[in-house]
Each structure stands twice: as C-alpha cells, then as structure tokens.
C-alpha cells in the first residue's frame, strides 16, 4: 500500500479506509469456494445411512454398488468402521461407544 500517514513516524494504513483486495472478485461471484471447484478426476461420495435408529453394523454388502458402471468404491474398507464414533446426542451422562462391526 503506497499511502503513508504522517505521525511521529511513518505509519502505513492506520486511519485510512483500505478496500479489500478481494472485494471486486467477491461482489462479482468470481471467487471460487470449495463447492465451486471441480478438479480433474473428482470423485463423488454417496452416504449410506442406516435404516435403523440404533443398531449394530454387522455387514455392509457393497458388491452391487461396485458392479455399477463408473463406480470406484475401492475406498470402502473395514477400517472405516474402526474409527471412534462421536456421541452427539445431548445427554449429560457419557454413553458407551456404540458397537461397531467390520466389512467382511
């Protein structure tokens, strides 16, 4: 910023209205947010939610999904079910971690 304000020493910017450098890009919709990006080879994930409110995951059969054209479900592994499960229900007492199964 080239504007300099004189006080006891040279102070750059203080007391001045400095426009944001990204202002014009933001008011014209040119700024790219994460959802606006589409890099080459971008894969889309589909979330499979349990049809049961509270149940133990015994087995997930992904063979039909994998058989569909274009599906690259290689990322589905048993490790996904070993991750700690966060208890987001608003209870005062801690609850035991829900039991998890693994993909065969």
């Amino acid at each position: 910023m080239s504007t300099v304000m004189k006080t006891t020493r040279d102070v750059k910017g203080i007391g001045l209205s400095i426009p944001r450098p990204d202002g014009p890009d933001k008011v014209t919709g040119q700024v790219q947010y994460v959802a606006d990006l589409s890099p080459r080879g971008l894969l889309h994930a589909k979330l499979l939610r349990s049809p049961h409110a509270h149940a133990k995951i015994v087995r997930i059969d992904v063979s039909k999904a994998k058989a569909l054209p274009g599906v690259r479900a290689n990322g589905i592994t048993s490790r996904m079910f070993e991750m700690p499960v966060m208890n987001i229900s608003m209870r005062s007492k801690p609850r035991p971690k829900p039991e998890c199964g693994t993909v065969p």
């Binding site: 990204d22 933001k26 008011v27 014209t28 919709g29 040119q30």
Partner: protein, 160 residues
C-alpha cells in the same frame, strides 16, 4: 429418465443445455453451465445465496426446476458486472467493505439490483424488505444498508 433440452436465455446469451428432469435451475447453472456465482447455501429457499433474476425478478434458483426456465430470461451474478465494469450496487459493496467471507454476496447483490431496478429510490424499510430473503452469517447487514442506499443515489443520479 432421459435428459431434456433446456432452451433459455442466460446472461443475454440464448443457450441450450442438457438437464435432468429433476435438476433445479441452480443445478443447471452451476453443474451444467459452469456458472458458480450463484451459491447453494441451504437448498430450501431460506438463505437466498442462490438468488438470480428470472425475467428481471429475484428468485431462489434452488426452488425452481431447471425446465421451468424454458423460454425465460435468467441473469446470474456473472451477467451483472465484471471486475472493472461493476454494477452500482457492486461498486458500493466494494467501497463499503460489505463482503466478509463473501458467500452470501452474489445473492444479496442480485436481490439489491432487482430492488433498485423496480424501485430506484427505496426507503430504508424497503431496502430491508428487499434483502429480507438473504441471510449473511457474517452478519454484515448494516454495511449492506449503507451500500444499497448509496447505490440507489448513484443509480438515480445516472438516470437524470
């Protein structure tokens, strides 16, 4: 189900685009035409981030099926102004530092531009009503009012 051909005018250009029958106008603009200025904030018409002009009126493009735009005139933020050739509302937004994170801004600018098109000298209450359908989670509403008020003066000045 087969894709359908959507013929409409987008940002003054007659276009033909293949869309799914269940695509919203927002899907068609963002995913099929690459116009990512309109944002999907909520997808349920509450936040206004997807606001575009539909035959000059501000609408939530996430609530309209793409095929309902057949034969109509759609304008997105990309068709309002460019850096270097800003719309008076955009000029005032930059000057007053309205954008913070900036996600709501395309929607707010479109709502404000449509308001001034219909009502060049709105009262403060009319401006508040005009952008009532747009949520800003940075809560930058005060600066929006200042900027739109100033843009109204500038727009009126340009006309006379």
């Amino acid at each position: 189900m087969a894709k359908q051909v959507l013929s409409c005018t987008v940002n003054d250009e007659p276009t033909e685009t293949l869309v799914q029958p269940w695509d919203t106008l927002l899907d068609a603009l963002r995913e099929r035409m690459g116009l990512t200025g309109p944002k999907e904030g909520c997808g349920t018409g509450d936040c206004g981030a997807c606001t575009v002009h539909f035959d000059g009126k501000p609408i939530a493009s996430c609530l309209l099926l793409a095929m309902q735009a057949r034969g109509h005139n759609v304008r997105t933020i990309e068709g309002l102004g460019k850096p270097g050739a800003l719309h008076p509302v955009q000029e005032a937004f930059v000057k007053h530092g309205v954008p913070q994170c900036g996600f709501c801004i395309p929607g707010v600018v479109m709502a404000a531009a449509a308001l001034l098109e219909e009502n060049p000298r709105p009262t403060e209450e009319e401006i508040r009503y005009g952008i009532a359908g747009n949520l800003c989670r940075c809560t930058g509403y005060t600066k929006m009012l200042t900027a739109i008020t100033e843009a109204a003066g500038a727009a009126a000045g340009r006309r006379s």
